[in-house]
Amino acid sequence: MDDRPHKAHRPSQSGAKAEKKAKSKGKEKQQGFNEKAFAPKSGRRADRQGRRNVERDQTRLHVPLVNRTPDDEPPPVIVAIVGPPGVGKTTLLKSLVRRYTKQTLNEAKGPITVVSGKKKRLTFVECNNDLNSMIDIGKIADLVLLMIDASFGLEMETFEFLNILQAHGFPKVIGVLTHLDLIKKAATVRATKKALKKRFWTEIYQGAKLFYLSGVLNGRYPDTEILNLSRFISVMKFRPLVFRNTHPYVLADRIEDLTPREQIRTSKGKCDRTVTLYGYVRGTNLREGTKVHIPGVADLDIKSVQLLGDPCPMPNADSERRRKLSEKKALVVHAPMSDIGGVMYDKDAVWVNVPGNFTRGNTDILQGEGEQMVMDLQDVDETLDAAVARSQIKLLGSSSKALSIGPSNQDTSLDDDDDEESSESEDGSESGSEEELDSEDEEGNSDEDGDEEDFPLGEDQLQHGENTGRMSRRTLTRSVPSLKGKEKQNVEYAESDSDLGDDDDGAWGGKRVRFDAEDELDVPSDEEELSDEDGDQDEGSAPRWKVNLSARAEAASSRKPRRKDWMKLIYSTNLSPEQVLREGAGVSEVEAVEEDEGDDEFFKIKKRATGDEETLDMSKEPLNSDDLKQWEDEEMLDSIRHLFITGSSGSGDNDHGGEEDYEEEGGDFEDLEGGSSKPAGEQPPAPVDTEEARVAALTAKKEALKRKFDEQYDDPEEGPNQDFYTAQKDEISRQLALNIAEFADIQDPAARALVEGFRPGSYVRIELESVPCELIEHFDPHYPLVLGGLLPAEERFGFLQVRLKRHRWFTKTLKTNDPLIFSMGWRRFQTIPIYSLDDHSIRMRMLKYTPEHMHCYATFYGPVTLPNTGFCAFNTLSSEKHPGFRVSATGVVLDVDKSVKIVKKIKLTGIPFKIFKNTAFVKDMFSTALEVAKFEGAHVRTVSGIRGQVKKALTRPDGAFRATFEDKVLASDIIFLRAWYSVQPRKFYNPITSLLLSNKEQWAQEHAMRLTGAVRIAQGIPTPLRADSTYKKVERPHRRFNPLIVPKKLQAALPYASKPKLVKAQKAKDGVRGTYMQRRAVVMEPEEKRAVALMQQMRALRKEKVQKRRDKKEEKREEKKKKEAKEEEKKESKDKERKKEVMKTIGMKTKRDAEKESGGSRKRRKKV
C-alpha cells in the first residue's frame, strides 16, 4: 500500500472549483487594458467621445519653439528660491546643497552650482526680499521654488513676484509650504493646506505642484522630503521662453577686479574699474562684440571673452570610475561666492582659499585638495636646474606620452629665457597637442605675419583654457615649485615666444624639426609651411632638419591644390579686398608673402587702389572683352554643357572633365609643382576614384529615382501623418542638427568663437571695462549679478508705444507725466509715460489718467525693446512707506519709433463783438492775425450749437476775425474752436542703478525722480494756489425775457393761422372786467332762497349717506379679505403636504431604480 504511487492531481473540469479557476484566469487576462471598459454605449456618444479626444489632442499642442540650449551639455538650470523673509529659504538651500553635495553650507552667498544627474546641473540662487532682486531673478530663473509660510499664508511679495514672472515669460514654479509644524491642530493643517493650494492653483494653474515641508531637523528640512523635492526638480521639463531664447545671458557666479592697485590708490578708489565676471552662458550664443546690460548697473561693452574649463563638469565615464574609488571627491560644487570649494581657476592662475589659519605639518586636520596642492609644490627637494635637466631628458627620450606633461616643461623653462632648448620643447609640446586637435583646414594657410601673430596667441589661450579645467588640473601636482606669480610669468613667456618666432625664423625651423623627430606626427603645422616657403633663410639650423626637408617638401607638394583659407584672408589680415582676390587668382603664395613683407610695396598697392578715382561703387562688374573672348572657342563652350539639364546627366566623368578645365585656366601654379615630384602613392588612386565615383553616382541616381517614386506614390498615405505641427517640429530639429554639424569640425576654440560665439553651457570669463567703481565697492553677493546680452537694435533709444493696464490690485490711478519705473527686457528704468487711447482710429488721444479695468496705450522715451516683449511697471521699488501692492501696471511693447503723434483736445474760445445777419466778428480767440491765418477755414461752434467757420482776420483788434455761421449768433454766445494739440513725451530715462549703492534699497530715495508733491513736502514748499483755480459759488442771475410783440400792422397782414392767439381766460381782476356771468349781480326771492337752502341741505344729507355706505362696504371687503387669506393659508399647507408625499414616492422610486441598475454588480461584489 505504501509503495503504491499517489494519484496524479487532476484538475476538476466542471463544478464550482473549475468555475472559480476559470474566473480567476479570465481576471488575469483582464489585468491589462480592457478595451470594452471604455467603449461608448451608443453611436452618438462615440461620436462625442471622438470629438472630445481630438479637442484634447489639440490642447496638448503648443506652438513649436526652437530650444537653443544644447542637449548634450546644457548650462545648469537656475533654480531660484524665492519667498518672504523668515520663510526658510536659506534652510531649504542648505538642505538641497547638502542633498546634492554632502557638504554643509555655512553661509550661502551667490549662485551655487551642483551636479544633480548624468546630464543635469543645477544652480541655486536665493532671492532676497528686495523687489530689484526679484525682478532680476524673475528674468533668469528656469525654475522657481516659491516658498510660502503656511502658518501665515500668502504674502504681498509672493503675489508681486508672480506678477513679475508673468510679465517676463512664466518660468516653472513649484510651491513650497513651510512652517506647517507651527500649526497645532491636524484639522487646521489640512484646512490650511487646502486653502493655500486652492489659492496657489488659481494664481499659477490648476494642478500646479505644491510641496509641504514639515519642521526643521538639525538646521535642515527632513532628508526624505528634500529627496522628494529634488526628484521633482530633476524631472522638471522646461519650455523655452521667447525672450531668453533670443538673448544670451550670464548669471555671474564670481567677480574679480582687475584694475591696477596703483590706479585705484591714486584715484582714491574712484576710478572706473576693469572687471571680470564668470559664469555659464545661457540663452543663445554669446558673441564677442555684443553689448551687455547688467541690471542695476549700466550698459557695458564686452572687452573680451575667454572660454574656461568647466568648474563643475558633468560626470563622464572617467569621473564615474573614480567616484567609486573615493566617494568623497565625487560631488562637485561650484560656489565661488560662498565658502565651499576652495580652489578657483582663472585664465592664468589658480587660487587656493585657506579658511582660518593654517599650519604646515598639522596632519591630523584633513587638508583640502587646494592645500594639498600647495604643500606638494612646497615639498620639492631638487633644484630648478635639476628639474629642467630632468624634464629635458625625459622629453627627448619619451614619445608622445611625455609631451602630455606640459606643465612641468613650462615650469622649467621659465627661469631661463636663454634656454632655447627648453623653450623649444615647450613650444613643441604645445603645438603638438594642438595639432592633434587641428583638422586639415588649418594646414594650408598662414603665410602672413598678421595671422602668425594672431594664432599662436589663440593657441596659448586654448592651452590655458584647457589647463584650468578640473580634469586636467590633477596633472599639475608636479614637484616643481611654481607659484601663481611664476605661472603668470610663464604665460608672458609663451606669448613673447610666439613673437620671437616672427623675427627669428631659424629658431622656428629648428624647433619644429625637433618636434617632428620626436613626435612622429605627420600633420604639418603652420610653421612648417612657412619654413617651406622661406627655406633659404633656414639654412643655419640643425642638420636633422635638412634631412627632413626634402621629404616634407614632397609631402607639401603632394597636397598640391593649396586652398587658401578665405576666412583668414578676409577676417584676420589687413589686405585690401583686391589683394585678397589676387591671391586667389593664382599668384603663388610665396609672392604674396614677399609682397606683405615689403612694407613699402604694401603701401604702394594700397595707394594704387585708393588713388584710382574711376572705381565706382557698382554692383555689375564691367564686361571684360578678353574674358568673353574665350567663349568663342567651341571647346570652352562645350566645357559647361554638364551644367545644363540637357548635358550628360551628372556622371562623375563629365563633372571631372569640367573641373579639369578650370584647372587649366587658373591653376598653372599647380602644374608647375605637379611636374616636379609626385609621390608614387598619389597617382594610382585616381582611376580608383573614378571607378568609385561612378558607382557612387549610380547609387545616388538610384536613390534619387527611388525618392522621386516615393514622393509620387507614397505621399498621399504619409500626407495626413505629416501635419503642420509635425512638419514644423521636424524642420526645427533638422535645423538644430545642422547648427551643430556645420561647425563641428572647427577644433580651434578661437576660430569657433569667431563664427558661432560661445555656446550656451560653456563657462566663460568676461572682461568688462569702465565699470563704475561702486559695483566693486558695494558688491553684495546676495544680490544677483546678471549679464544680459543686447541685440543690435536694443542699444538704441526711441519712443516706445506699449499697451498697458493698471494692475487691479494697485490702489492708485496712474497719471500722465508722472514718472514710472519699468522692468522691460533686461533693463529696469524710470521714465515718464504719456497715456493715450485710440480715438476712432483717427488720432491718438492723450489721457490724463489710466482708465479703470481697461487697457490703454502708453508712450515713453526709453531703450528700444522688440515688439511683443512683456513688461511690468512700478511706482516705487522700495518697501518702506508703501505697504500695498507695488506692481502698478503690466503690458506689452507694441511699437518703436523715433517720433510720436499723441494729441490732446484744446478748445479756443472767443466772443462775438459785432453781429451781422449770419456773420459775426469774434475776438479774444487769437492774439495775432497770423494765428488767425493759420486757422482760416476751421470750424467753430457756439455753445448753443450754431456751427460756423473762421473766415478772415480783422485788422483792428489784434487777433479778431470774421466768422460766418449757419444762423445769427447771440451776443451772449461763446464761440469755440475745437483743435488738437500734439504732446511729446519727455525724453527722460533714468536707469536704476541699485547695485551701485551701499544700501541697495535706497535707490528710490536717492536717485529716483520724485513727484512734484513729494519734492514740495521734502522741501517744505506749500502748494501754490492760484486764485483762478479756487472754487467759488456760482451765481447765476435770473434772466428776464421780454414778451414777443408782433406789431399790429404785421398782425393784420398775417393769415389767421399765424396770428398770435392772445385771448386769455377772462377773469375779474382789479381793474379788469370779467365776463358777463361773472360780473352780473344776483338778487334772490325768499322762496328761491328757501329752495336753495333746501337743496343744500338735501345735498349734504346725501353726501353723508353715501359716505356711510362707502365705509360699510370697505369694512365688509376687509373682512372678506381676511377670510380669504385664512383659506389660502390652509390650502397652501395642504398642498405642501401633498407635494411632500409625492416627492417622497418619486425619490423612493428612483432609488429603487438605481439599485436595480447597479444591484447586480453590488451583489456580485458582496459575493466575492
Binding site: 550664443n285 578676409i570 566645357s639 539639364i645 535645423q735 558661432e756 542699444e795 507694441l894 519709433d897
Partner: protein, 365 residues
C-alpha cells in the same frame, strides 16, 4: 540722455552703399571720412547725396551730418519707416544704384514700402531694373519675402537723358528665414528681356537672334522677350540692352546683361550678354556674383541658426562686405571650400550663425 551708442568708423568713398545699409539695419552710427579728399572735386558726388536723401526719406529720425567740405559724413540711423515715397535720381547713376540698398532695407520697415523712383533704368554700372525685377527680387523669396514683392517698370529711360520710372513695392517681414542652399542643381531654362527704346524695334530682335546663336546649343527652353515701350513710356534717350538669366532646377539664378554702346551693333550686344552669362554659369554656385552681398546680408539677418550657401569666390565687394558685417553685427562667416573631397572645387560654402535679427520697426498696434 540718448547716447550716440557705438560709432563705426570708415574712410574712403568705397562701399558707401552697403555701409549705410548696415548702419541703418544694425542701428549703429557710422562715420565715413576721407571721402575723395585728394580729388579735384572733393567730397560726396551728387548721386551719393541723392542716395542719402533717399535713405532719409525711407527712414524716420535719421540724422545725417555732412562736413563743410563734404569729405566726411556722420549717419545716426533712425528706424526704417517705409510707406509711399517718390524719389528722383540724378542722371549720373541709374536707378539700380539707388534701388539696391532700398531692396536690402525695405523688408524691415514699419509699413510696406511703395517707392516710385525716376531716372535711368539701364546702364553699364548698375543692375538694370529688368535684372532687379527678374533676379534680385527672386533672391529675396529665398528668405521668405514674397507676398506683394513687386517691381513695375512704368517707363524706360536710357542714358544720358533718362526719363524712366519704376515702382517698387515691398512687404514687411518679422524675420527672414534661414537659408540652406547648397545644391545649385542644373540649368533648366534661360529667359531674357531685350528692349530697344527710341531706336528701330528690330534691334531687339537682332540681339535675341545673336544671343540664341550661342545659347541654343545648350537647352531648348529659351525665351528671350522683346519688350517694346512706345512714346511717352520710352524715356528721353535712345538705347537698347539685353538682360538674360539662367534658372536651375533648384531655382538658382545666374544673370548677365549688356547695354548699347555707340558704334556697337546689336548683334555684338547680344553676343556679349550671352557670353557674360556663360562665364557667370561657369562660376557656378547657388547665387551669382552680383547678388552675393544681398544673400550674405540676409543670411546674417536670419534667425539664430546656421545658414549655408554655396557661391563662387567672393568679389572685392563681397570681401569688404564680410568685413563690414563683422564690424557692424559681430558675425563672421565661415568660408570654406564647398566640397572638401574634391581638390579642384573652386566654389565656396559660406555659412554663418544668424544674428536672429527681428524687425523691431514692425508695429503690433
Amino acid at each position: 540722455m540718448a547716447s550716440l551708442g557705438t560709432i563705426v568708423h570708415f574712410s574712403g568713398h568705397y562701399h558707401f552703399r552697403h555701409r549705410l545699409v548696415l548702419s541703418i539695419l544694425s542701428g549703429k552710427s557710422v562715420r565715413i571720412d576721407k571721402i575723395r579728399p585728394d580729388d579735384k572735386n572733393p567730397g560726396l558726388r551728387d548721386y551719393e547725396i541723392s542716395l542719402l536723401r533717399l535713405l532719409e526719406k525711407v527712414t524716420n529720425g535719421t540724422v545725417i551730418e555732412i562736413s563743410v567740405t563734404g569729405t566726411a559724413i556722420l549717419l545716426k540711423p533712425g528706424i526704417i519707416a517705409g510707406g509711399s515715397l517718390t524719389h528722383d535720381c540724378p542722371l549720373s547713376r541709374s536707378i539700380g544704384y539707388f534701388l539696391e540698398p532700398v531692396v536690402m532695407l525695405a523688408p524691415f520697415s514699419k509699413k510696406p514700402l511703395h517707392l516710385t523712383i525716376r531716372g535711368i533704368t539701364t546702364d553699364d554700372n548698375d543692375l538694370s531694373v529688368d535684372l532687379i525685377r527678374t533676379v534680385t527680387l527672386p533672391h529675396l523669396q529665398l528668405f521668405g519675402i514674397s507676398d506683394g514683392l513687386e517691381l513695375r517698370i512704368k517707363k524706360r529711360g536710357s542714358p544720358p537723358e533718362g526719363g524712366g520710372e519704376v515702382q517698387f513695392l515691398c512687404p514687411v517681414v518679422k524675420q527672414v528665414k534661414t537659408l540652406n542652399f547648397v545644391d545649385p542643381g542644373k540649368i533648366k531654362r534661360i529667359r531674357g528681356i531685350s528692349h530697344a527704346v527710341r531706336v528701330n524695334p528690330q534691334f531687339s530682335n537682332r540681339m535675341i537672334e545673336a544671343s540664341r546663336s550661342i545659347l541654343n546649343r545648350y537647352i531648348p527652353d529659351i525665351y528671350l522677350y522683346s519688350d517694346v515701350y512706345k512714346g511717352e513710356e520710352s524715356g528721353k534717350s535712345p538705347g537698347y540692352a539685353l538682360s538674360i538669366l539662367a534658372e536651375t532646377t533648384n531655382s538658382a539664378l545666374y544673370c548677365a546683361e549688356a547695354t548699347s554702346k555707340p558704334g556697337v551693333a546689336p548683334e555684338d550686344i547680344g553676343l556679349q550678354a550671352s557670353r557674360a552669362l556663360l562665364s557667370e554659369i561657369k562660376q557656378g554656385g547657388c547665387v551669382d556674383r552680383k547678388h552675393q552681398t544681398l544673400v550674405l546680408l540676409m543670411m546674417t539677418l536670419g534667425s539664430e541658426d546656421v545658414g549655408r550657401c554655396r557661391m563662387s569666390a567672393p568679389t572685392t565687394r563681397t570681401i569688404q562686405f564680410l568685413r563690414d558685417v563683422k564690424s557692424f553685427f559681430g558675425i563672421s562667416f565661415r568660408v570654406a571650400t564647398a566640397d572638401p573631397s574634391d581638390p579642384d572645387c573652386v566654389q565656396l560654402l559660406y555659412s554663418c550663425y544668424g544674428t536672429g535679427y527681428v524687425n523691431a520697426n514692425r508695429s503690433l498696434a
